[in-house]
Symmetry: C2
Subunit: 361 residues, 2 copies
């Protein structure tokens, strides 16, 4: 047995209002006046001065606002990298991602592609990155994705949706300020929170599970239930704090194991229909009772408790070619299936079954 | 409010038998043929070829076996550093600590003192270290201390028992192989496991607690109970795995908060009587019902369940001067008292109370 020597985020600051310390934290990392810090910020914050006024821009530092209407793409990373190279005098001092999972993944990918040659799509896969990325900082404003701790950055390329999984992917610094999640719309809060809940279920029920992943997975599993199912009067602040920690632990849990069927099938939905990851996971997981009975029952209870309605019939209008592409995309994620169903997973699941499941969504 | 930007161990490998991967993990860190790896190994492993035969010594690499009869001392670090400097052609490539908390703390301290001038005692305190230490690896063979994740290395100096707390203290690499704990004697297993349990109680009941520490503390708290109180038939292997993770999480919990009264008073016992940390914590905690009612009740239940007898009357033969030194040592650890009792802790505890507590031990 060969175990993974897992890279962890080497610096983390946690606390409500810790965002105020960002400038002070990154200042020592400035390489020169001509080497700016580049902030990639979700454009929902564009006119939110409560957040943006606290970003201190010096010299050539700049904020690039990015829409997260769509999931991040390899070509988007290529364009951002080209834009940054053309517009800066020197290689930047660092990349700071502020937003949800898409923004964190973009920040990770841009930091890698500023020090590695060629096109982003050529690094989708496992351990293909050759050089360490630029100093990069992750600041989640949404809780649940686990992107703040993971060694992947999930991107949609021309041929596949797949992460750049590497030891150079994790952030050098993470800032966890639960206050930054205070104005997330309810649906988004639920879908992204469920990403974390599903991480914990897929990890805890996976064949890759060990004591390391289990302890983190259980913590995320418990915290999600406290936040989404609790009847007692938990304050909004406490719920924000807990969900941010749940996301962290859920992410830690999967680094030493793997996600499972919901993620594999959700990648298919995303690849063919452009359905975003959080809601895609929910749409899929809602139909996975036979694989994750306890987890799906809890999910349905949380959905009911929070009054969330999922879209229906998302796959009904697909033509055969699209359906096949979706199934192919899902089945391509072999480690996820192996984690969920064991080494002989191919005997336990068929394209036909996947099609039936997709048609129920 | 200013939050701590906490350094985490940047690399961790977990798994039964992962010790077999040590040589492969450190190989890329070798600086030259003349820059050896120095292994600091608890001398209980001296004739244990199951462990030592797996350490591959190349060039000038060597193992230094160290007795842990006594807690680590600042002068011991000074001597080790001098010995290493005199006996190596170049500054070592790395220091690898293999053992319990004492050995891990020695490895951390030696790595720091090989790159920082002067005497070790001058670095006891908070953030006094100027230069990063040498590459250092921690491999616990006992679970509970949390030394594998902490940013401190606790040493007894001529004037005080106090840690070198710094951002350069944490290990660069930790290897968690629960199999290495398989031959720990029962008492030692219990005392060191309780160190972790007490970390979790002191953190969870402390005034410094936040959602970060709480989630880690709860995980350690639960895992300790599973290991030490569980009636079901948990295998030895499962218990080893769980306790190793409990230690990790308990350590993570206190980095963002602080320990409390048991640790403060145990430092006193250790400083004056040379009582080792694990058993010292147990002796103290057993008497702290008024401060930690639920935690102490659980501790007593675990002690009973495991058939552990604590020594009695350890302080009865102390003269007044020794008792005063012990109380002074304990009260000197101000952050621990503040965490336990709040900002006005001085009004809530007196030397007289401490004396009464010590006399009950």
């Amino acid at each position: 047995m060969n175990y993974k020597n897992f890279p962890m985020v080497p610096r983390v600051i946690f606390g409500r209002g810790s965002f105020n310390q960002l400038n002070e934290i990154i200042a020592p990392k400035r390489l020169s006046m001509d080497a700016p810090f580049i902030y990639l910020v979700d454009d929902v914050f564009k006119s939110n001065s409560w957040l943006t006024s606290r970003i201190l821009l010096s010299y050539d530092d700049r904020i690039i606002y990015i829409s997260t209407e769509e999931e991040p793409k390899t070509t988007q990373v290529d364009n951002l990298v080209e834009d940054i190279i053309l517009s800066t005098k020197e290689r930047p001092s660092g990349i700071i991602g502020i937003g949800g999972g898409s923004m964190l993944d973009l920040a990770k990918a841009v930091s890698i592609m500023l020090t590695n040659e060629g096109e982003t799509k050529s690094y989708q896969g496992w351990d293909l990155v050759k050089n360490p990325g630029l100093y990069h900082v992750g600041i989640p404003t949404l809780s649940g994705t686990g992107a703040e701790v993971s060694r992947t950055t999930v991107l949609t390329g021309p041929e596949k949706k797949l992460g750049i999984n590497s030891d150079y992917t994790p952030f050098d610094q993470v800032l966890l300020d639960p206050e930054l999640t205070r104005s997330v719309p309810k649906e988004q809060w639920f879908y992204t929170g469920m990403d974390c809940f599903i991480h914990s279920v897929e990890s805890l029920q996976g064949t890759y599970l060990n004591a390391f992943s289990k302890s983190y997975g259980e913590m995320a599993f418990d915290l999600c239930q406290e936040v989404f199912l609790n009847d007692t009067d938990m304050s909004k602040e406490e719920a924000e704090d807990k969900l941010m920690m749940a996301s962290w632990h859920g992410g830690m849990s999967i680094v030493y194991s793997q996600v499972g069927i919901a993620h594999a099938m959700s990648y298919g939905l995303s690849y063919v229909l452009g359905i975003k990851h959080g809601i895609g996971n929910c749409i899929v997981f809602d139909q996975l009772e036979e694989f994750y009975p306890k987890g799906v029952a809890l999910f349905k209870a949380m959905k009911k408790k929070q009054g969330i309605q999922l879209p229906k019939g998302v796959c009904t209008d697909l033509n055969e070619e699209q359906m096949d592409a979706m199934i192919d995309m899902a089945l391509r994620l072999e480690p996820l299936w192996e984690n969920a169903l064991g080494k002989n997973w191919r005997r336990k699941i068929s394209s036909k079954q996947l099609k039936q499941l997709y048609l129920k969504m």
